[in-house]
Symmetry: C2
Subunit: 166 residues, 2 copies
Amino acid sequence: MSRLKHPKQFPAADHDHKTCITHALQEAEAYCKQQGLRLTELRRRVLELIWANHQPVGAYDLLEQLTREGRKAAPPTIYRSLDFLMQSGLIHRITSLNAYVGCNHPGLDHAAQFFICEYCGQAAEMDDAQIVSAIAKDAKRLGFTVEKRTIEVAGICAHCRHHSET
Amino acid sequence: MSRLKHPKQFPAADHDHKTCITHALQEAEAYCKQQGLRLTELRRRVLELIWANHQPVGAYDLLEQLTREGRKAAPPTIYRSLDFLMQSGLIHRITSLNAYVGCNHPGLDHAAQFFICEYCGQAAEMDDAQIVSAIAKDAKRLGFTVEKRTIEVAGICAHCRHHSET
DNA sequence: CGGATATTGTTATAATATAACGTAACATTA
DNA sequence: TAATGTTACGTTATATTATAACAATATCCG
């Protein structure tokens, strides 16, 4: 069903936040080193903040967080870092939210689909081959060459639904 | 494959633009009448402009077109009309473009997927049950309740690809 | 008509993103 | 290590998309 070994689920309420961030940063460092990409202080910090937020986060939110840390930052600062991180495959942009979220498996070429909870704001990244192939089939029929897929499903995650059932 | 009787294709270069607009407007009028929705002068004109552009068009583009016609219009004017038209199912919003496009089958409850050509800017609306069911399957596995799907595929349409092959 | 509701006008501003240009850091190689 | 080219970052200004808040007008219905 999924081409990924460890498709992200909605994280459990008690999952280890810190380990999760640390792990993502370590992977990113290793990946950039291997690829000759320059994960500078700033870029690293932006990536870390994205993971620390642990859900899709807006550019101006990140900007404010950087500013609060005493770093001089204007919009271009953050957008350039976001561009780098996206091009490097370390984060994804969620179009329907204008927000950015860490990628669970940098380096792996993958189509990403997001399931976004409207209550808690968390997003689960999937890579469903069936969706991809259904799109490919339509594209073929249209004679359309696919460049980029934007697949974002909004709704309510299991956790929030159970808690809202009064 | 498609649940629609007449899934939109990329319109042929020689298709009859005027008839196409007229038809959409007539359908909209009939639909609104039947549903008791008020397709006012303004809303009708906005819908007409969207169809006349015949590809996804931005709110501020529409605004400018209205202004050029001598109508006093500020952003809220256009956004309110767009909201009405979306809620009535007469147009769709294409998130990845921040643009609006006419719906081919108002009234029909349907999931829409868009194939958007990066060259000519045209968008083809599809309603592929396979995509929808693949998403439903993932959602079920996650315990996720789907509210809204955003499925937009960017690429190059057949027509533009042929013309770019020098 | 007259009151309620829906629509539109108007002004201001929020939220997201980029252009343009200058400066600093870094990397390479003579 | 100094010269040079390249990449990243700082800074200012502005573009683009969208909404808040409130006033004025049009429409509906008893």
